[in-house]
């Protein structure tokens, strides 16, 4: 009887130790950035599609147009914006739009991942049919939840021809955790620390 009690006590102790060790090894996955605890962004790709119309000269209407985009991004096209393709030919008609956002760079194409700098926070893929550039530039606002206000981030544009990420500009995260930048190229934009 004494032996059974000893064995049960040892088993109980082992179970308590295991539970304790297990609890020490798990966390909530949040990151500590500049002393602030910020929840990480979802790693899935958010996609939103829509259409915009341009006239026979390749211009959008006289009023600004909000492009359908995932909740993390806002894309505003100002009135009378000219859309052009790769060879600077104007693009007319109903143009399909597809805006993709993700903080998981492994969801990028292999080619785009090949030379991507390690400090990528998120990317925004702006696709508007055959239109590849806009004049004037689009106003793009992105919610970069993992970066604290005041952080300077670098925006890089992915060049399909060379496979390189070309540094375009830097921007500072606002107090609302968002960045706003002008985008002339309607292509893949990476946001880097």
């Amino acid at each position: 009887m004494k032996n059974i009690s000893k064995r049960f006590a040892a088993l109980l102790l082992a179970a308590v130790i295991c539970l304790g060790l297990g609890a020490c090894g798990t966390g909530d996955g949040d990151q500590l950035v500049d002393g602030t605890l910020i929840p990480s962004l979802p790693s899935t790709v958010s996609v939103k599609t829509g259409t915009i119309a341009t006239d026979s000269w390749g211009y959008t209407g006289s009023t600004p147009v909000q492009v359908a985009a995932p909740s993390q991004a806002e894309i505003l096209i100002s009135g009378r914006t000219l859309l052009m393709d790769d060879s600077l030919r104007v693009v007319s008609g109903n143009i399909p739009t597809k805006i993709s956002f993700s903080s998981d760079r492994t969801t990028l194409s292999r080619a785009a991942q090949a030379y991507i700098p390690a400090d990528c926070i998120a990317y925004l893929d702006i696709s508007m049919g055959s239109a590849k550039s806009a004049f004037p530039e689009l106003s793009v606002t992105v919610d970069v939840g993992v970066a604290a206000a005041g952080t300077t981030l670098t925006l890089r544009n992915y060049d399909v021809a060379t496979g390189k990420w070309i540094a375009a500009q830097t921007t500072v995260v606002s107090s609302t955790g968002k960045i706003t930048f002008p985008a002339k190229q309607l292509s893949l934009w990476g946001i880097f620390r």
Binding site: A53, T54, D55, S56, W57, G58, Y59, T60, G61, S62, R80, L82, M84, S87, L88, R89, V90, S92, N94, F135
Partner: protein
């Protein structure tokens, strides 16, 4: 003495040469006639209104032209001091520049043209005199088919290439003209016609891409050299 003879001879030659002309400066002779002419047409700058519905947009573009051909013929009857004729002609101008203030576009070195095939009824007053040169003035009205070609260009501001500044289309419109000229008699039946015409049309509306439309009026200065055969 030799000098005097030469002067007389030259005077005689000039006099002989002048006989047919003087005789052709003759009193008006009622008869039918045919003519052909060839020259140049210089369309005036015009405002082209482009209305589109998706997206809603209206542009008032200014089109400028380089001169083009002016060719045609007439058939009519000369009553003496008044001629009544039917005319068929084709004139066109090459679109050289298209600008739009609101959009800030400046398409330079554009490739396109605006043409007018006109069927007119004209009346001219001939101011006969003692010389072989008969001034005339008058005008006419009728119908014209205005043809706008597909127009391409590069925007000097943005470098954008536009292959459809204007779409190809045509419209039938009312046309009028007024002009004057000189009819120079070469012999009893044949005369040389140096003429100027101001040619204008009512507003043409190109609606191939209905409900979108492109509207313009054509007005042009036209000069021509023609030959008229009187029967």
């Amino acid at each position: 003495m030799k000098v005097r003879r030469s002067l007389v001879a030259i005077s005689a030659l000039i006099g002989i040469a002048a006989i047919p002309a003087v005789s052709l400066a003759s009193p008006p002779r009622p008869a039918g006639y045919l003519s052909l002419f060839l020259g140049a047409s210089a369309p005036q700058d015009t405002t082209v209104t482009i209305s589109e519905f998706n997206p809603v947009a209206t542009k008032d573009a200014r089109a400028q032209f380089d001169p083009g051909i002016n060719i045609g013929g007439t058939a009519g009857y000369d009553f003496g001091f008044f001629r009544l004729e039917g005319e068929m002609s084709y004139k066109r101008g090459e679109i050289s520049k298209v600008t739009e203030q609101t959009y800030g576009t400046r398409y330079l070195n554009t490739d396109g043209h605006l043409g007018a095939f006109a069927m007119m009824m004209n009346g001219f007053f001939d101011l006969h005199n003692e010389s072989p040169v008969t001034p005339y003035l008058g005008g006419g009205m009728g119908f014209s088919t205005i043809g706008l070609s597909r127009t391409r260009g590069v925007d000097a501001s943005t470098g954008a290439r536009n292959d459809h500044i204007f779409q190809s289309d045509y419209d039938n419109v009312f046309a009028y003209q007024a002009g004057a000229g000189l009819d120079i008699a070469l012999n009893r039946h044949l005369s040389l016609d140096l003429g100027y015409r101001y040619f204008g049309t009512s507003r043409a509306s190109f609606t191939k891409d209905w409900p979108n439309s492109t509207d313009l009026k054509l007005a042009s200065h036209n000069a021509a050299v023609g030959l008229r055969v009187k029967f």
